[in-house]
């Protein structure tokens, strides 16, 4: 959609498996959001997804092989890799899945790339539904949301350390003991 | 004289016996807890109770509703003696009571129009 070039903070636009992804500067996310809602009619924010790309493309992140003492889920074993995926600009991606509830429904993914601890403005003024989604992104992934009125942990205990969905956070749980040996 | 009170005595005996066995039984067969845990004594508040609530005042509306209930509930108490002797009193008793009801009806319409029945 060439009309997307006029979005403030425009960086790049991709179409893959039938979905358009619009990448914008994190700083100008709020203006882009306001523009998308008012001018292009994306009045419905369906989802905010934070993705951690730490260790993306490094070969060691694939298969698991059971070891004698049981399969420790946290230490992966390499299993070879045909194609190394293309590198990502920064570590975190924040995807806003937008939808226009109108006569001709359209979907769009508004994407912003962030580094560790880089703040991003909250889009609650534009879509009030972003409140819980942003709290969850902060809680599970540690994305610093600026201007969020109630930025607290939502799914985990308030005294929980660390952000579980990050790639460097271990899966936790207990190693599975195969009852064969004891 | 004794035998017309006998059924009442038997009835009273049972009225005493049944709750007594329940109370005593629940003490005799109860299994005492091993150790008194603080969580056991605080009120149940869906699992996240911090302890009995600090002094909480109740709004006056509860008091108002309670008064209205008592007022209109006691009417029924007066109906019982009337029902027992209504046959002898015949029409006089009926009209007598109608007057009583009308007075209460006036009171009911008054508080209804005043809006005391709606919650706020």
């Amino acid at each position: 959609m060439s009309e997307l070039e006029a979005v403030p903070g425009y960086v790049e636009e991709r179409v893959h498996v039938g979905e358009t992804t619009l990448v914008v500067e994190p700083g100008e996310l709020l203006d882009a959001a306001r523009y998308l809602r008012d001018e292009l009619g994306f009045n419905f924010l369906s989802d905010v997804t934070a993705v951690d790309y730490l260790g993306w493309g490094s070969a060691g992140v694939s298969g698991y092989i059971g070891t004698a003492s049981g399969r420790d889920l946290n230490s992966p074993m390499t299993q070879g890799y045909q194609v190394v995926p293309l590198a990502k600009p920064k570590r975190f991606a924040l995807n806003y899945h937008l939808l226009s509830i109108s006569e001709e429904p359209r979907r769009l993914r508004l994407q912003a790339w962030l580094d560790e601890g880089e703040p991003v403005p909250s889009v609650i003024p534009v879509w009030p539904t972003a409140d819980f989604h942003e709290r969850e992104a902060f809680d599970l992934m540690g994305i610093a949301i600026e201007g969020h009125p109630n930025l607290r942990r939502i799914l985990l205990d308030d005294d929980w350390e660390g952000h579980p969905l990050r790639k460097d956070y271990p899966l936790g749980g207990e190693p599975v003991r195969f009852s064969g040996e004891e | 004289m004794f035998n017309d009170w006998l059924p009442f005595a038997i009835y009273g005996l049972f009225a005493l016996l049944i709750p007594a066995t329940m109370m005593i039984g629940s003490f005799v067969f109860a299994q005492r807890p091993h150790r008194r845990v603080r969580a056991r004594t605080i009120p149940f508040e869906s699992g996240v109770s911090k302890g009995p609530p600090k002094r909480q005042r109740f709004t006056v509306s509860f008091y108002l509703t309670a008064m209205l209930f008592i007022l209109f509930d006691i009417e029924i108490v007066f109906l019982y003696p009337l029902a027992v002797i209504l046959h002898q009193l015949a029409w006089f008793g009926f009209f007598e009571f109608l007057v009583f009801l009308v007075i209460l009806l006036v009171a009911y319409v008054y508080i209804w129009r005043k809006g005391a029945l709606e919650w706020r």
């Binding site: 956070y169 899966l171 | 869906s46 699992g47």
Partner: protein
């Protein structure tokens, strides 16, 4: 072995006793325990009274709660065991059916509710997630409920069919009638 007479004629309580040869280890255990403990007739009467009106606490967590609800339904109907009033407050409940995965945030309320239940009280860990953390071997789920509360009966399945849960309940009743003490007297919470 076709049944020509009704079960009562055989003097049997449930079909499982029909197969003495294949009766599971549980029956042997319950049977010889009955001799070993040797309950007095009064204790037997108390155990009988406890099992025939064991009121569960509504502690529905996840998918197992939906199957727990359906045992109250018309087809499985635990009213036959005197258990259909699912009590809202732990004060009036005898049996805590932990149905579903227990998150770490839910561990403290679960322990508080268990403490607020009055003795004698029993716990059924319903489903794989309550019994062993199930398929969620991760940071968020307590890997088994017996890390928080002593558990009497573990019901396998994900979610267990309603008749699987009732099998667990029947076995709990038979164990109590045989004189098995509740879990908190046998062992404290698993390490």
């Amino acid at each position: 072995m076709a049944l020509d007479k009704p079960l009562r004629a055989y003097g049997l309580k449930s079909e499982r006793l029909l197969m003495p040869t294949k009766a599971s280890a549980f029956e042997q255990e319950v049977a010889d325990l009955e001799q070993k403990v040797g309950l007095t007739t009064l204790a037997k009467a108390v155990a009988w009274a406890q099992t025939n009106s064991m009121w569960p606490d509504t502690f529905g967590l996840a998918c197992c709660a939906i199957e727990m609800m359906s045992i109250v339904g018309a087809r499985y109907d635990i009213a036959r065991f005197g258990m259909e009033p699912f009590r809202g407050s732990p004060r009036q409940a005898d049996l805590l059916i932990v149905s579903g995965r227990v998150a770490h945030k839910m561990a403290a309320p679960l322990r508080q509710i268990y403490d607020q239940m009055l003795e004698p009280k029993w716990v059924i860990a319903m489903g794989a997630c309550a019994s062993s953390g199930g398929m969620f071997n991760n940071y968020a789920v307590v890997q088994s409920v017996d890390k928080i509360v002593p558990v009497d009966i573990y019901v396998p399945g994900c979610p267990p069919r309603p008749d699987q849960l009732m099998e667990g309940i029947i076995r709990l009743h038979e164990a109590v009638k045989a004189g098995v003490p509740p879990a908190y007297e046998i062992r404290s919470v698993a390490s």
